[in-house]
């Protein structure tokens, strides 16, 4: 199942939310995770009915390997613990390699040695790359002693299969949710923040990624004679926009859903397209993946502490794996090594020089290289990539522009503009500065409204500090009484929301629901709605 579907939005999610919050009323601790686990398994089975068993088996193996590590560590038998960890890693990485890369290896062996081994044509289990990496983070951290071994299978399986992050990330580390797996509280405020984040993510995916991404597909389906240089650039930029909005939209939805169920995942994207170097780009792009490789591959290999040459070797290994992680195809390997080369060059050759250029040139440098990287990423094979690249750089005799190009430019121009502005912090800054009503005023209003309306007495709110502020500003010694006797009108005048504030609140809430309704209208009206991570 994917988030951007009617089944998920209008059947799965409301039922799961209902059962989850009902179960919270009972004093059985396991119930909440139990419901999440069953829901997650159904979520997975809806898209991968057969591979459900593979994922379940993974959770069982992970559980026992974890127990084994814990058993030997308690007895201080570190070598044995390490052996158990290695067995676990071989099993999990093994299943990833078998299901994801067998066809690729067989195909290349056949090509190299002119053999004719039949490709097993295994379908790739959706999300296997994500959940395998989550499992590995748990096992390695358990071995390192960074997290405690999970003795409860339901908790562990819930972590591995948790549907918000199951099929398209982010890669949530076990340490991030360790505490929340056992004990978490859900509040209306958190739920609202989650719902809002989810809606924003859905809008990013459905309204921007899908609509802009369509252009890439259209252009690359055209006969070569109808393409032009500008059109190929437009297509690549469209894909650049699509993959960011799609992927970060999924992450937003995952983070939002997590919050609705009381989990706090880490951010996965930080405006990657405002980066001024490739190095910075990778600090902002798919953070959960790059930090995973940093912590579990780069640093264990020695990082940058073992001399320059070894450091370059380590960088090479990390980027080879990063590329290959994205799919079993040479384009992805090439894509990883392309970044490896750029990162090494920035580190060793022109990084400092780059920083002295005008900021605009730094941005252009970064984005041109990023757009080219996505062109390789999107191509079906290296041959196709080089053909497109030649076209983009006037090397295949295409005309600069043509009528069709102008049509696409004028038809998609507004969307491109919205998408580009939306990929910068500008909208968020504008919101914080001009739309968002100050937290405190809002709290004060809520607090007094709530307390006056329900019981007519001041109950201590969850935010004691605020109470103090209110009392202080009320200028009373026996503040409690004074506050109780505030008339609504006079309180509003003093601390409450101005009518402008109220308009701003209405605007904000309205915007969120407009995005939601607009997304639904695209979802139900047979629009282009691809799933980009089927090769991850």
């Amino acid at each position: 199942m994917v988030f951007s579907s009617v089944v998920f939005l209008f059947v799965f999610l409301p039922i799961v939310l209902f059962l989850y919050y009902i179960s919270g009323l009972f004093a059985v601790k396991e119930l909440k995770n139990g419901i999440l686990l069953v829901a997650s398994l159904l979520f997975y089975a809806w898209g991968e009915p057969i591979y459900l068993f593979l994922m379940l088996a993974s959770t069982v193996v992970c559980y026992f390997v974890g127990l084994g590590i814990g058993y030997f560590k308690e007895r201080n038998q570190l070598k044995a613990a390490k052996r158990v960890l290695l067995v676990g890693m071989v099993l999990h990485i093994g299943s990833l390699v078998i299901f994801k890369y067998t066809d690729f290896f067989v195909e290349n062996i056949n090509r190299m040695f002119h053999t004719a081994i039949k490709e097993p044509e295994l379908a790739l289990p959706i999300g296997i790359s994500f959940y395998t990496f989550q499992i590995l983070s748990y096992l390695i951290d358990a071995y390192w002693g960074k997290v405690a071994v999970q003795k409860n299978w339901v908790h562990l399986a819930t972590y591995v299969a948790l549907f918000p992050q199951l099929i398209a990330g982010p890669i949530v580390r076990y340490e991030t949710v360790e505490r929340e797996l056992a004990d978490r509280t859900e509040t209306i405020d958190e739920f609202a923040l989650g719902a809002r984040r989810f809606i924003v993510g859905l809008g990013k995916k459905v309204l921007i990624a899908n609509t802009v991404g369509e252009l890439y597909t259209i252009v690359h389906a055209l006969p070569r004679t109808e393409q032009s240089v500008v059109m190929l650039w437009l297509a690549s930029i469209a894909y650049t926009i699509q993959i960011y909005y799609d992927f970060s939209g999924y992450s937003d939805m995952a983070i939002g859903l997590g919050r609705m169920f009381g989990f706090h995942f880490l951010e996965n994207f930080q405006y990657p397209y405002i980066a001024t170097s490739i190095t910075e780009f990778w600090r902002r792009w798919h953070i959960s993946l790059s930090s995973w490789f940093r912590d579990y591959v780069y640093i264990p290999l020695g990082g940058n502490r073992t001399g320059a040459w070894k450091q370059y070797r380590n960088i090479f290994v990390v980027w080879l794996l990063t590329g290959f992680w994205h799919g079993a195809e040479w384009t992805f390997v090439g894509w990883g090594l392309y970044f490896c080369l750029l990162l090494v060059l920035e580190k060793a050759v022109f990084g400092k020089l780059l920083k002295r250029l005008p900021l605009l040139l730094q941005h252009i440098y970064t984005m041109v290289l990023v757009v080219i990287s996505w062109t390789m990423f999107a191509a079906n094979n290296m041959g196709e990539f080089f053909t497109t690249l030649k076209g983009m750089f006037f090397a295949s005799g295409l005309s600069v522009s043509n009528e069709r190009t102008i049509y696409y430019l004028t038809s998609y121009g507004v969307l491109f503009l919205i998408a580009i502005i939306g990929a910068t912090p500008v909208p968020m800054r504008f919101y914080r500065k001009h739309i968002k009503v100050k937290e405190q005023a809002q709290r004060q209003y809520l607090y007094v409204m709530g307390s006056l309306n329900t019981r007519g007495e001041v109950t201590v709110s969850e935010d004691e500090k605020y109470v103090a502020v209110t009392r202080e500003r009320a200028g009373a010694s026996d503040k409690k009484d004074r506050i109780i006797h505030w008339e609504k009108e006079s309180f509003d005048k003093e601390y409450g929301l101005s009518s402008l504030d109220k308009w701003k609140l209405c605007l904000e809430v309205a915007c969120i629901f407009v995005i939601f309704i607009a997304s639904i209208s695209y979802l139900v009206s047979a629009s282009f709605n691809p799933f980009l991570y089927f090769r991850f």
Partner: protein
């Protein structure tokens, strides 16, 4: 407060869609989109394991979702707002006019013209053949077409038709229609012309064939409907749409009898009952039929054979006053022996009435062979 509204609003929305999905009776047909909607798929273990079942459930739920028509409209509205030139095979033209994308594929026009050419050569010894080519809306209102759209050049193709069919009488009413472009001669939401447009077509045809054409004022002209939303609207239903009217020209002295291929017949050219259906254009001659015969009290002693598309449905009522007897064939559905008909029918005229888009895209002209 804000958070409460968002939280409860979100839950309320999800819950009502869920609730509606279980409560609402599935619809069979969407008049707005002009298509049949998906129904609940049959469950089989095989379709479950292959994932086909899940895909069908998704399609079914999307089609049957509450306020579906509203959502489809909203999407079209957003696309227009974002300056998309069109959606789903139509462009959003100026003056609330939908414009069907003219995009003929490959050799269809060339093939069709050679079929027609052969037919003209073979038939003209039996009766003179006239080819009437109705232009589409973009040829009459080029200024309403949005800028920088991808459209093949229909005017060039019309020229090609004219040059290829030299052996036939050729009538192209485009210029005359352009002279009357201030009048209501094309529907805004449908791919057809109006009966008023067809009247000018009739004038042009009359000039070529020597009809005595009645003045427009001498017809009884009335509006039969003010709420027609045509086929182009269905492809991208904008909320800001301007509905079309059905205007009818009727000859008060005319008496008609229309017989259909199934033996039924009616004594009128216009079907009032069709004004209450989705496709109100079928008011004229009951829409598409493989074969109809129109008899009238024209008393000219003339008979005609007509090959046509649906553009003719508003033109034939005028022609009925020129011929006692008209046989009308739609090549999309008619599979009878055309050759014998032409040879033994005793026709005074053979008319071929087609619009440019149809001529360049339809693949049934092969049946003329």
């Amino acid at each position: 407060m804000k958070n409460k509204i968002i939280a409860f609003g979100f839950i309320l929305l999800l819950a009502s869609f869920l609730f509606a999905a279980f409560i609402l009776e599935p619809r069979e047909y969407s008049a707005m989109e002009n298509r049949y909607l998906k129904q609940a798929p049959k469950f089989t273990v095989k379709s479950l394991l292959s994932g086909e079942y899940m895909e069908k459930v998704e399609a079914y739920l999307a089609d049957q979702v509450m306020f579906k028509d509203g959502f489809v409209s909203l999407k079209a509205d957003i696309e227009k707002l974002l300056h998309k030139k069109g959606s789903n095979g139509v462009y959003f033209g100026k003056n609330h006019r939908y414009i069907q994308v003219y995009d003929p594929d490959g050799d269809t026009l060339k093939d069709n013209l050679s079929f027609i050419k052969n037919f003209v050569s073979a038939s003209k010894s039996h009766a003179p053949v006239t080819f009437f080519l109705a232009p589409n809306v973009q040829s009459v209102y080029p200024e309403d077409v949005p800028s920088h759209v991808l459209m093949a050049d229909a005017d060039k193709d019309r020229q090609t038709v004219k040059e290829t069919l030299k052996e036939a009488h050729f009538v192209d009413p485009t210029e005359l229609l352009q002279e009357h472009k201030d009048e209501y001669i094309y529907f805004r939401t449908d791919h057809h012309w109006t009966m008023r447009g067809a009247y000018y077509g009739y004038q042009a045809l009359g000039e070529e064939l020597g009809y005595s054409v009645m003045d427009a004022e001498d017809y009884s002209v009335e509006y039969k409907s003010e709420d027609f939303l045509g086929s182009l609207y269905s492809k991208a239903p904008l909320t800001s749409v301007k509905k079309d009217s059905i205007e009818v020209f009727s000859n008060v002295l005319g008496k008609y009898r229309v017989s259909f291929e199934d033996g039924k017949h009616v004594n009128t050219l216009f079907m009032n009952s069709k004004l209450h259906t989705k496709d109100q254009y079928t008011y004229f001659l009951d829409g598409n039929h493989s074969f109809i015969t129109i008899q009238s009290n024209a008393q000219t002693g003339k008979r005609a054979l007509v090959f046509k598309d649906s553009y003719s449905h508003v033109l034939l009522p005028f022609l009925a006053d020129q011929y006692d007897y008209i046989d009308v064939i739609d090549l999309r559905y008619y599979r009878g022996d055309i050759k014998t008909m032409v040879e033994a029918g005793g026709y005074n005229d053979i008319l071929m009435i087609y619009n440019m888009d149809f001529l360049a895209t339809d693949e049934n002209f092969i049946w003329l062979q």
